[in-house]
């Protein structure tokens, strides 16, 4: 009887350990998910900054960009929104056509 009880206790301990492990794995996943999204965004911005010219964004002389920068807030916001929406073109199309 005592041996059976011990066996059950051991099994419960193993299962509890497994449960705690999976909870911890899930929590870690949740915690890194946000950082991963941030990381992808940062990588995207980094690539755009460095290689904009390879995807059809020619680099004009820096003084032209700077002179026009204070006059182009609206265009700048549009460009940023475009960059953020580029991952979900269907979503953007639906919102443009007002399909819900």
């Amino acid at each position: 009887m005592k041996a059976i009880c011990l066996k059950i206790c051991r099994k419960i301990t193993v299962k509890a350990k497994e449960l705690f492990c999976s909870i911890s794995f899930f929590e870690k996943g949740l915690a890194t998910q946000v950082i991963e999204v941030e990381l992808i965004q940062l990588e995207n911005i980094f690539a755009l900054l460095l290689f904009g010219c390879f995807v059809g964004l020619p680099a004009p002389p820096v003084h032209l960009t700077l002179e026009l920068l204070p006059k182009m807030e609206k265009e700048l916001i549009i460009m940023m929104n475009r960059v953020f929406a580029s991952k979900d073109p269907l979503g953007e199309l639906f919102s443009t056509l007002d399909i819900t």
């Binding site: 004009p60 002389p61 820096v62 026009l68 920068l69 204070p70 006059k71 807030e73 916001i77």
Partner: protein, 298 residues
């Protein structure tokens, strides 16, 4: 009044600063009001004149003024004005997000050349009321980048202007459709105004660079490297529609064959020589001594 402008250019170490200093002293001795300005980030004029020169105009003698332009001052001034303009024009959050990038913008390629343009534009306002401005320029690569800047900027600006015109036309069409027949006052577009003002600035500058007011002198030594680099300068400036007026063969040691090959290569330019000096050319008195027998480039 726009003064006469002289650019002394050439390979590094050929004696551009010395030749421009000798020329400035010679012209000032002729009674002209002269300003010599070093736009080379590695200045030498202080050592040549034997006195400390600053970013602001320094009086060397009666008619002679000198300065060593600090390009970092121009870069800082320029970036601060853009930042200030952004703070006024942008909503708080957008301006705040962009501000952090301004710290690294001063290291952007091309900004040094633009700082030179700003310095030259400032000189052309002629606050010192001089008749002649002499520019001691940086070595070939940086000089050619700087002198090409108004031309390359104009190419970009013309493209940007035609694209902006198209955008405004489309906006106008949408606005007309939405408003029906109701007339609306034409709104001014800050971006196209900015582009137009830059086009006019760079056109003026490129015209001045090509005009008879601007004089270009190459300083070279009797060696094959500075000879071939001088040829590249002549070709590059020729592409921009600029002619080199004179070539100074500095540190000339009397090799007749070399002199003749320079004369035959640079047919359009006047070739003058400045012989190799045993003693260093430092100090105003020494510059005067050298300038007296020297046949100036003009």
């Amino acid at each position: 009044m726009i003064p006469e402008i002289y650019f002394f250019m050439g390979k590094g170490g050929t004696g551009k600063s010395t030749c421009s200093a000798v020329f400035s002293v010679q012209q000032s001795n002729k009674g002209k009001r002269v300003l010599i300005n070093s736009i080379d980030p590695a200045h030498n004029l202080s050592q040549i004149f034997g006195r400390t020169l600053f970013h602001k105009c320094n009086r060397v003698e009666n008619n002679l003024y000198a300065k060593e332009t600090d390009l970092n001052v121009w870069k800082k001034k320029y970036l601060t004005s853009i930042e200030e303009e952004m703070r006024l024009a942008y909503k708080h959050q957008t301006a705040f997000n962009l501000n952090k990038y301004f710290k690294t913008l001063k290291y952007s390629p091309g900004l040094e050349e633009y700082a030179m343009i700003l310095a030259i534009e400032d000189n052309l306002k002629n606050k010192e009321n001089v008749e002649i401005v002499i520019f001691d320029t940086p070595p070939t690569a940086l000089f050619l980048n700087f002198i090409s800047l108004p031309y390359s900027s104009l190419k970009w600006l013309e493209q940007l202007f035609s694209l902006r015109t198209l955008i405004l036309k489309k906006r106008g069409t949408i606005d007309r459709i939405r408003r029906g027949n109701k007339q609306k006052e034409k709104e001014s577009d800050m971006v196209s105004e900015g582009i137009t003002s830059m086009i006019s600035r760079f056109k003026d500058l490129s015209e001045i660079f090509r005009s008879k007011k601007s004089h270009y002198t190459i300083v070279m030594n009797p060696d094959s490297l500075s000879f071939s680099e001088s040829q590249s300068i002549v070709n590059h400036l020729g592409d921009l529609g600029i002619n080199v007026e004179s070539v100074i063969l500095n540190k000339y040691d009397g090799q007749r064959i070399f002199f003749e090959s320079v004369v035959s290569t640079f047919r359009e330019a006047r070739v003058v020589t400045l012989k190799k000096e045993e003693e260093e050319i430092v100090g105003l008195e020494r510059l005067k001594e050298i300038s007296e027998p020297w046949r100036a480039p003009n």
